[in-house]
Amino acid sequence: MNTKSPYQIKIGKILSVKQMTSMEKMFEIALPGEDLSHAPGQFVEVSLLGIGEAPLSVSSSPTKQGSFELVVRKVGKLTGALHKLKAGDEVGIRGPFGQGFPVRILEGNDLLFVAGGLGIVPLRSLINFVIGNRKNFGKVDILLGCRNPKEMLFHEELAGWKERLDVNFNCTVDKADPDWKGNVGLITSLIPGVTLDSERTFAVVVGPPIMYKFVIMKLLDKNIPERQILISLERHMKCGLGKCGHCQIGNTYCCQDGPVFTYEKVKAIGGAI
């Protein structure tokens, strides 16, 4: 076949699989002979033949070379089948797709990360990129929220962020269990406590749809300009190519124009959050 099909997959080899919680597993995947070369915030379409494809965020930073990481929650057909795979197995990969976080624009500024639930999965790519290039960025605050301590992902890495002197890390759970010693309450409760210079702060927010409205309200209270609030939108995605229509919001194709948008843009689209 001489024409190049955009549906052509590349073979990815699973290097390791790690159970993270009862619902999520992390897969380390290598493309033989090449790097994925993604930007933080981009996603790939993962394919298993006979089952199909699903969009999954790249969770590792591009600074990690030789392989990349996906963190997958088991919710259905493809994600269920992925959970049965082990090191040495193969998957199909298309991508990376979409507009990630605008790293160039973020450089030189202060960053406030707000992650809710699975939102930490794509955000981790940017956080580790920033930590890997720490001197290029100003003050860094990370706020993390999830429903209960059992759902918390990346325990060791979070502990590492917490220990760093050049990163302010804070987390909360909606509902504590007997072993939990930290904050209890919604993620919005952590925002008023952050000291920031609104002029030079970019807020990067990723979480479930319901979270955005409330978090953004708090960020606007802090005078962060709308164009300095970045969010990543989840939509049903099939092709990743701006064609199949599933991911469309207003006039915008989330898979190509997003998934990362400024709040200014999202507000203009209407009906997005």
């Binding site: 099909s5 073979i11 749809p209 099939k238 199949c244 469309q248």
Partner: protein, 364 residues
């Protein structure tokens, strides 16, 4: 610009000539008021006096099901991409459907290009056919300026009564003229006859089918996002997806894997999908971004009249009227637009007819 003539009794010879080199498809009558683009072997089978076919010609550019890749599990996860195409001559395409094909061409030529679509497109020859009057009361081609040809064909035929006059638009069209030896050059008198016919058409299609200016439609939709009309459609629509299936400019699809019976080999194909299906925009977290039928209907209308303006500088409604003909719930595109116009007080009787019903039926 070159015009050629074809004698009426040589239509059959033209079809036979085309059929020697490729599959020829043309509108064929399928019972009362139903027509379908179907393969023909001679001109007698084709019907040139037809209302828009049930399915538009998009089925040749983007079949309902189209294989994207095949696999063989003994080869691991690897997949062989498939780009299928076949040489086809589309005969007798109305101007509204030419516009539909132009819309699809724009979408699939946009980066990242869709090789599956483009391979098919490049193997298709298009011979358009002019409507000299309205096909039926559902059409609104004048409103979207598709009642006259705006390109998008290799050859374009107009029925002058005793003969056809053909406009040659591409080298592929020219080749047909040259190699078939069926045509003669049009004389001045023929061009004058064509001009008279177009003048008569200007009278028939003098006003828009509904009382609004073409240029005001984007503004109408800018104002109508929160309209009550969507709530009305919410109650009526049964979410069957007929409207999007028959739409010449709807192209949304799903991608599905299907194992063969041997359970070793299989294929990945795409299949027409519809934004009217309830799960179309549902995501894993349980959120559904267009949960109500009214919101999905609104999305359909905006995809025809508002969204494509910025991206492609044109309406994606071709005015063919198929969605209104096919709707289970009798949701009528012209009526919907009139309701929106009235709600916004944007009625302009000088721009278009008041009633959505009375159109003069076609005379050929």
């Amino acid at each position: 610009m070159q015009y050629n003539l074809l004698n009426k009794n040589q239509l059959n010879d033209l079809i036979s000539f085309l059929a020697r080199e490729q599959k020829v498809v043309a509108p064929v009558a399928q019972g009362l008021n139903n027509y379908a683009f179907t393969e023909i072997k001679n001109g007698i089978q084709a019907t040139l006096n037809y209302i828009p076919t049930t399915l538009p010609p998009k089925k040749y550019f983007m079949p309902q099901r189209e294989t994207l890749a095949t696999y063989d599990t003994t080869q691991g996860q690897n997949m062989d991409p498939v780009v299928e195409h076949e040489k086809v001559a589309l005969f007798g395409v109305h101007t509204c459907d030419l516009a539909g094909i132009q819309c699809l061409n724009m979408v699939f030529s946009e980066k990242p290009k869709d090789q599956n679509y483009l391979a098919r497109k490049n193997a298709i020859t298009i011979i358009g056919y002019e409507c000299n009057a309205y096909c039926d009361r559902f059409a609104s081609c004048r409103l979207v300026h598709n009642h006259t040809p705006n390109g998008g064909y290799d050859l374009f035929m107009t029925n002058l009564g005793d003969k056809f006059i053909l406009h040659v638009n591409t080298p592929a069209g020219e080749k047909i003229i040259e190699r078939s030896h069926l045509f003669s050059l049009a004389a001045k008198a023929d061009l004058a006859a064509l001009e008279r016919l177009r003048q008569k058409k200007r009278e028939i299609f003098e006003k828009n089918e509904i009382p609004i200016e073409h240029e005001k439609i984007p503004e109408l939709f800018d104002k109508s996002y929160q309209s009550k009309v969507w709530a009305d459609l919410d109650k009526r629509c049964v979410a069957c997806g007929n409207c999007t299936n028959v739409c010449p400019s709807c192209y949304c699809f799903d991608v599905i894997d299907e194992p063969n019976l041997d359970l070793t080999t299989g294929r990945r194909y795409r299949q027409w999908d519809s934004c009217q299906n309830e799960t179309f925009a549902k995501v894993a977290g349980g959120e559904n971004f267009r949960k109500e039928r009214g919101a999905r209907q609104r999305h359909r209308y905006y995809r025809k009249f508002r969204f494509p303006i910025e991206k492609f500088s044109r309406f994606f409604c071709t005015g063919c009227g198929r969605c209104s003909r096919a709707c289970m719930a009798k949701i009528d595109l012209k009526e919907t637009l009139v309701s929106l116009i009235k709600e916004q007080g944007m009625e302009n009787p000088n721009a278009g007819r008041q009633s959505t019903i009375a159109e003069k039926p076609a005379t050929f």
